[in-house]
C-alpha cells in the first residue's frame, strides 16, 4: 500500500477578534479578514483552508461555503473545505449542491469534514431535537454518501422527504468530493466512519495525542471488517507559530486563557491555567512555539499515530489579524517544509497492534 499524500492545512472558526490596539473588529470585517488569511495561506504553500460551523456571536463561520467560494476566486492551488460541517442539522442535498458548486468554481479543490458537532446550538436553530443526535447524523450521512457515490438516488428516511431516481447537480467531474468524518473520541463514531468507507479526522483539543492510538487501531480494524481499503487519518488541533517559543507563548496565552475561561463558565470545564497551557504545549495537543518546535511536534505526532493529514486550528481566540497572518506565513514557509522533511527522513510507520492491545498510550517524543 502506498502512503497517502500528506496534507497540512489550516482551520479557522472566524473568531470575532480585536485589532492590534485591542479594539473590537466588526463582525463583517472579521469575515473579510479571514478571506485575506486564506489568500495568504495559498501563496505560502499551505495545502488546505478549512472553515468551521457555529452560530454564535463570537464565531463568524455560519456560512462556510459562501466564504470558500470567495476564496476560490482569489486562489489557485489551496484546497477549500470545512473544519466541520454539522451534517446532523443540514439537508444533505443542500450540502451536496453547495460543495459540488464550490468544487466546480475552484476547479476541483472542494473538500469537507462532516460531524455531529460538539456545540449543539444548530439543533434548536434549525428545528431539530437534540434527542435525535445519533439518528440524525446516521441518516444524513447515509443520504450524503449516496449523493456522492450513487446518483441517481432512490432513498427514504425519517427526517426528510424521500428521493426517487433523483439526480442532484452539478455532477462531480472527478467523480468524488473528499469527505472526512470528524470524531471527538467516541468509538462508535470511529466505527461508523469505517462503515461508510470515509477517511477519519480526529478533533483533539487537549491531552496527549498518543491516547488516540487505540482509536486509530479500531478504525483500521473496522475498515478491514467492513471490507474497505485502508483510508487516510488526520487530526485537528490548536496552535500558534511565532519566531520563538517565548513570543508564541506571549501572544497566544492571554487569548487562549480568555477563550477557555469562557468555555469553563459555559460548559463546566476546568478553568485554564498557565501550568495546563504549558503541559499541553509540552506533551499535549497545543502546537505553540517556534517553527522548529511546532514542526517537530507535528511530525512526531503524525508518525506516532500514522496520520497523513494535520490541520492547525491557528491562533485560538481573539488574536488580531496581523498576528494571524504572521503565524500563517511561518506555518506555510517554515513549519510545513520542515514537517515534510522530518517525515521523509523517518516515514510514518504502521502502528503495531501489540502497542494497542496492551492499552499503552505512548507519548510522542517532543
Amino acid at each position: 500500500m502506498s502512503a497517502p499524500e500528506l496534507e497540512l492545512g489550516l482551520d479557522t472558526f472566524g473568531y470575532v477578534n480585536v485589532d492590534e490596539a485591542g479594539q473590537p473588529v466588526p463582525a463583517d470585517a472579521v469575515i473579510r479578514n479571514y478571506v485575506e488569511e486564506a489568500v495568504l495561506a495559498d501563496s505560502v504553500g499551505i495545502d488546505s483552508f478549512n472553515i468551521g460551523e457555529h452560530y454564535r456571536p463570537d464565531f463568524m463561520d455560519s456560512a462556510a461555503h459562501v466564504v470558500l467560494a470567495t476564496i476560490a476566486g482569489r486562489t489557485k492551488r489551496i484546497r477549500l473545505g470545512t473544519a466541520v460541517t454539522v451534517l446532523s442539522t443540514q439537508d444533505p442535498v443542500r450540502v451536496y449542491t453547495n460543495f459540488a458548486t464550490l468544487d466546480a468554481l475552484s476547479n476541483g479543490r472542494a473538500q469537507l469534514v462532516v460531524g455531529r458537532g460538539s456545540l449543539t446550538e444548530s439543533f434548536p436553530l434549525f428545528g431539530f431535537d437534540l434527542a435525535d443526535y445519533e439518528e440524525l447524523f446516521e441518516e444524513k450521512l447515509d443520504l450524503f454518501t449516496r449523493l456522492l457515490r450513487d446518483q441517481p438516488v432512490t432513498w427514504s428516511g425519517k427526517f426528510r422527504s424521500p428521493l426517487v431516481n433523483q439526480y442532484v447537480t452539478p455532477a462531480l467531474p472527478a467523480g468524488h468530493l473528499p469527505t472526512w468524518v470528524g470524531v471527538g473520541g467516541s468509538p462508535q463514531s470511529v466505527v461508523r466512519a469505517a462503515r461508510y468507507g470515509l477517511p477519519l479526522m480526529l478533533a483533539v483539543i487537549g491531552g496527549p495525542p498518543g491516547r488516540f492510538a487505540p482509536l486509530v487501531e479500531l478504525y483500521k480494524r473496522a475498515l478491514d471488517a467492513y471490507g474497505h481499503p485502508r483510508l487516510p487519518i488526520g487530526m485537528h488541533s490548536h496552535g500558534y507559530v511565532a519566531r520563538t517559543d517565548q513570543e508564541a507563548v506571549d501572544i497566544q496565552w492571554p487569548y487562549w486563557k480568555e477563550t477557555f475561561e469562557k468555555a469553563a463558565l459555559e460548559r463546566g470545564w476546568a478553568r485554564p491555567t498557565m501550568a495546563r497551557f504549558q503541559a499541553e504545549r509540552a506533551d499535549g495537543s497545543l502546537y505553540i512555539g517556534s517553527p522548529e518546535t511546532v514542526a517537530t511536534k507535528i511530525a512526531a505526532m503524525m508518525r506516532l499515530l500514522g496520520l497523513s493529514r494535520f490541520d492547525l486550528a491557528y491562533a485560538t481566540g481573539r488574536v488580531p489579524h496581523q498576528q494571524r497572518l504572521a503565524t500563517i506565513e511561518l506555518y506555510g514557509r517554515e513549519v510545513i517544509p520542515r514537517v515534510r522533511e522530518l517525515l521523509a527522513d523517518h516515514p510514518v510507520p504502521p502502528i503495531p497492534s501489540s502497542h494497542v492491545s496492551a492499552g499503552v498510550t505512548a507519548q510522542p517524543h517532543v
Partner: protein, 220 residues
C-alpha cells in the same frame, strides 16, 4: 480488612463509549474480570471491546448485571432512564456519568438537582447502592495517570455515597485501578465532583482533593 474490602475482582460496565472502554482497560490491567455492554446486542460492540479493551467480554446489559456486584454506569446521561428501575437492585452502582447540556439536551431535573445528578440516578434505581465516582477526572487519565499504590504523584479519585460499605468497596476499586481514593461523604455532596463543581476536570493528590472536598472548603 475493613468491611467493604473484598477479594472479588469482577467488574461490570454498562456503556462502551470512550469512558466505559477506558475504565475497562484500566480494570483489566488491575486484574479484573470485566464484562461490558453497549446499547443493544453484544455483537454490536464486539470489535470495539476487542480492540479498545482486550481481555474484556462484550455482553448484553443483563449479562453484565449478572456478572458482578460492582457495576460502572457509563452511558450518555440522557440514556440512563432507558434502563429499568429494578435493573441494579442490590448492586453497587458506580455512577460515572456527567450531565452535559450540549450533549444531553436541556434536562431540568438534572440541571437543577440540589444534591447533584447522582441523587436523581439513585431515585431512578431506588434499590441500587449508588456511589458517585470515576466521573471527575479527564477520562484518558485512566490510561496515562494510573500508578501503583504509594507511588509519588498518584492522582486521587473521590467517591460519594450514602451506603458506606458500597463507598468502601468503590474506594478499593479506585486503589486497584491505580489511584488514591478519597471519601467525599454522602451522595448529595457529589455536586462538587460534577462539571462546574470545585474539583471537576483537574488532577489532584489525595491531600489536595480531600482539602477541596472538606466541609470548610465547600462553605468558604
Amino acid at each position: 480488612m475493613s468491611s467493604g474490602e473484598t477479594g472479588d475482582r469482577r467488574l461490570g460496565i454498562v456503556g462502551a463509549g470512550r469512558v466505559g472502554t477506558t475504565i475497562a482497560r484500566a480494570a483489566i490491567a488491575a486484574g479484573y474480570d470485566v464484562v461490558i455492554s453497549g446499547s443493544g446486542p453484544a455483537e454490536r460492540i464486539a470489535l470495539i471491546v476487542e480492540v479498545l479493551a482486550p481481555g474484556a467480554r462484550a455482553a448484553s446489559t443483563e449479562e453484565v448485571v449478572h456478572h458482578a456486584d460492582l457495576i460502572v454506569l457509563a452511558v450518555p446521561m440522557h440514556r440512563f432512564r432507558d434502563l429499568p428501575h429494578s435493573l441494579f437492585d442490590g448492586k453497587i452502582l458506580i455512577d460515572a456519568m456527567n450531565y452535559w447540556e450540549e450533549i444531553d439536551g436541556v434536562d431540568q431535573e438534572l440541571a437543577t438537582a440540589p444534591g447533584g445528578t447522582s441523587v436523581v440516578v439513585q431515585e431512578w434505581f431506588p434499590s441500587a447502592r449508588v456511589v458517585k465516582s470515576l466521573n471527575h477526572i479527564t477520562y484518558y487519565k485512566f490510561d496515562a495517570g494510573r500508578r501503583p499504590h504509594g507511588a509519588p504523584g498518584r492522582i486521587a479519585i473521590a467517591a460519594a455515597g450514602d451506603d458506606r460499605a458500597a463507598v468502601a468497596a468503590v474506594m478499593q476499586l479506585i486503589d486497584r485501578l491505580g489511584f488514591d481514593a478519597v471519601d467525599a461523604g454522602p451522595l448529595d455532596t457529589g455536586l462538587a465532583l460534577e462539571p462546574n463543581g470545585s474539583v471537576f476536570g483537574v488532577s489532584y493528590s489525595a491531600d489536595a482533593l480531600s482539602d477541596l472536598l472538606s466541609p470548610a472548603a465547600s462553605s468558604a
